[in-house]
């Protein structure tokens, strides 16, 4: 099986609105693919189609080697779905929840119990196994939800915004659990609003806008595509800002941005170490006092805003100079 998830030219229309408009995706087995995009870009529609919940109008999709439309039942034996809200019963204990799902996966009474115990151990819920889920923290609830999605040890797991409304600690717990699953060989398709989440977990990122993939690559490649790293200088004395900006301009790829309040000036550079040495040497020769220097990569947020702005401008026919 070459691709754990394969989508080609998927289209899905709701009335006048094209939720997916030629969506293509290829995910290699055992990797994490992050699906990013603004609200309404089609992320959830794509996941729902691939998880056999939604029919589509055109195109082709395969999950775990089976056709999503024609072999839905085979697909359902090989996937797990973790949606935006924990789909577990608050009134029941973690164990009861997992046993019920295990029985619905037809493991039989004893098989379901055994599997529930295994998963509770694996997701660090053994101590809380027999408490009602209502008493769980947000992170524990999500881990239980992940466990419920893992009952048949699926080869493909869909995570639709798995850390929405979690505190940072809960988020870390979920991330750790997902990393652990991937180490075990599970393929994960993750949608998220949090770009740092994709940065943390995803091997590859697909940026979705208006129902199609507008950019794709490793998080690092996407960031360099935006023009590489930025140098930020903070000068001791505000009068030196103009001098610093002009020295930075000489090595930069973009017009330096000046922030007088912070006495800071920043710009994108190509070769970061060389540019940094050069600008610092020049400023030293000029006698400009530098209070702070930062060399940083663009955040995924910057990549994302840039890409979606370009894409929507292209749609409306506006020229964009990046």
């Amino acid at each position: 099986m070459e691709h754990a998830i394969l989508a080609e030219g998927l289209r899905k229309r709701y009335g006048d609105n094209m939720a997916l408009d030629g969506f293509d995706l290829r995910v290699s087995p055992g990797t994490v693919c992050g699906l990013l995009g603004p609200n309404g870009a089609g992320k959830t529609t794509a996941v729902r189609i691939l998880a056999t919940l939604l029919r589509f109008d055109a195109g082709r999709a395969e999950v775990a080697g089976y056709d999503v439309a024609g072999q839905a039942d085979r697909v359902r034996h090989r996937i797990g779905l973790v949606g935006q809200h924990p789909a577990v019963d608050e009134a029941l204990s973690g164990r009861e929840n997992l046993v019920i799902f295990g029985r619905l996966f037809h493991l039989g009474r004893a098989g379901a119990r055994r599997r529930a115990t295994e998963l509770l151990d694996r997701f660090g819920l053994a101590d809380a196994a027999d408490r009602p889920v209502r008493t769980y923290s947000g992170g524990m609830r999500r881990r239980l939800d992940l466990a419920a999605g893992m009952i048949l040890a699926p080869s493909v797991l869909f995570l639709d915004e798995p850390t929405t409304a979690l505190d940072p600690r809960g988020r870390n717990e979920v991330w750790e659990a997902v990393r652990d699953l991937v180490r075990g060989g599970t393929t994960v398709l993750l949608t998220t609003q949090y770009l740092d989440e994709a940065d943390q977990l995803a091997d590859r990122v697909c940026v979705l806008d208006a129902g199609r993939v507008i950019a794709e690559g490793t998080p690092d490649a996407l960031k360099s595509r935006l023009g590489g790293d930025r140098i930020e200088l903070v000068v001791r004395d505000a009068v030196d800002l103009a001098a610093a900006a002009s020295r930075l301009r000489a090595v930069a790829r973009s017009e330096p941005a000046v922030d007088p309040d912070r006495r800071a000036v920043s710009a994108q550079v190509g070769e970061r170490a060389g540019a940094l040495t050069e600008v610092l040497r020049a400023l030293d020769a000029d006698g400009v006092g530098v209070a702070d220097v930062a060399l940083r990569r663009p955040t995924l947020d910057e990549v994302f805003l840039q890409l979606t702005a370009t894409s929507s401008a292209a749609r409306t026919g506006v020229e964009v100079t990046a």
Partner: protein, 269 residues
């Protein structure tokens, strides 16, 4: 990951349905509050009508108002079940449980079947409690055992029909306020019938609506089967209560069961 987890059985409507009925029962066992509240409310209604309003209410053909009341209350509690079904179906949909089940190799219609069986089981519990309350306030079933069992059978048939009304509404309405609206509408639906007062005491047009209410058919038929006083209407409807007590629920099932299935399938659209 090694595929060490192998299903022992295949998906079946009955097997999966029963597992999901078990889920509803487990839920009730762990959180009996709403059920106790619902039974408490039913008992309160009986006490209110038997002792508070009952003194002022006359049964047109003569006879005890409490004997007249109880068949109405039995059927009324079945109407109160609608919002319970609606709430459960809407909650599963809202919380993503329905989506998860649909992404699993579970028999497609098992979630609806599981719900229907669980709600019927609670209807049996409700009727058992109401039977005891009825006996306590002086109601008696005066027919033979066969008639009495037939009467309870008709009441449960009405509940089974209303399950599908509830499922349809649960798949249709959006949000908690809509569920509250369903709950509120149960009252006019229940009161605009022969359950508590004789339609002959209402304005003519309203009385006609009340007579044709499906609830009135079940209430009228069970009053006859229990040997309790009826209101003695002489219309065609009043003369055919037993027939209508079967036809009405079957008609509701014939409409709302396919509508519910259609709604459920439309979730993939």
């Amino acid at each position: 990951m090694t595929a060490t987890v192998n299903p022992a059985r295949r998906a079946s409507l009955a097997g999966d349905g029963l597992t999901l009925t078990g889920r509803a029962l487990a839920h009730w066992r762990r959180e009996p509050g709403p059920l106790i509240g619902s039974l408490g409310f039913d008992i309160l209604m009986v006490l209110m009508f038997a002792y508070l309003f009952g003194g002022a209410l006359q049964v047109p053909g003569g006879g005890s108002y409490r004997e007249f009341l109880m068949p109405g209350m039995f059927a009324m509690t079945m109407v109160f079940g609608i919002s319970m079904t609606t709430m459960a179906v809407a909650a599963d949909l809202d919380r993503g449980v329905t989506d998860r089940l649909r992404s699993m190799p579970v028999s497609r219609l098992a979630p609806l079947l599981g719900r229907a069986v669980a709600d019927l089981m609670f209807a049996v519990v409700t009727l058992a409690v109401m039977l005891l309350v009825g006996l306590a306030v002086g109601w008696r079933a005066r027919g033979d055992l066969g008639d009495t069992l037939t009467a309870f059978g008709l009441i449960l048939l009405l509940r089974f029909a209303l399950v599908w009304v509830g499922v349809f509404l649960g798949l249709t309405v959006k949000g908690q306020s809509a569920v509250t609206a369903v709950q509120t509408l149960e009252f006019p639906l229940g009161f605009l019938s022969s359950a508590f007062v004789a339609p002959s005491t209402m304005p003519a047009w309203l009385g006609a609506v009340a007579e044709w209410n499906p609830l009135s058919a079940t209430v009228g038929a069970t009053r006859e089967l229990f040997g309790n006083p009826g209101w003695g209407g002489d219309s065609w409807v009043a003369a055919h209560h037993p027939l209508l007590a079967v036809l009405w629920p079957l008609g509701l099932i014939a409409v709302f069961l396919p509508l519910s299935l259609r709604r459920y399938r439309a979730l993939s659209r």
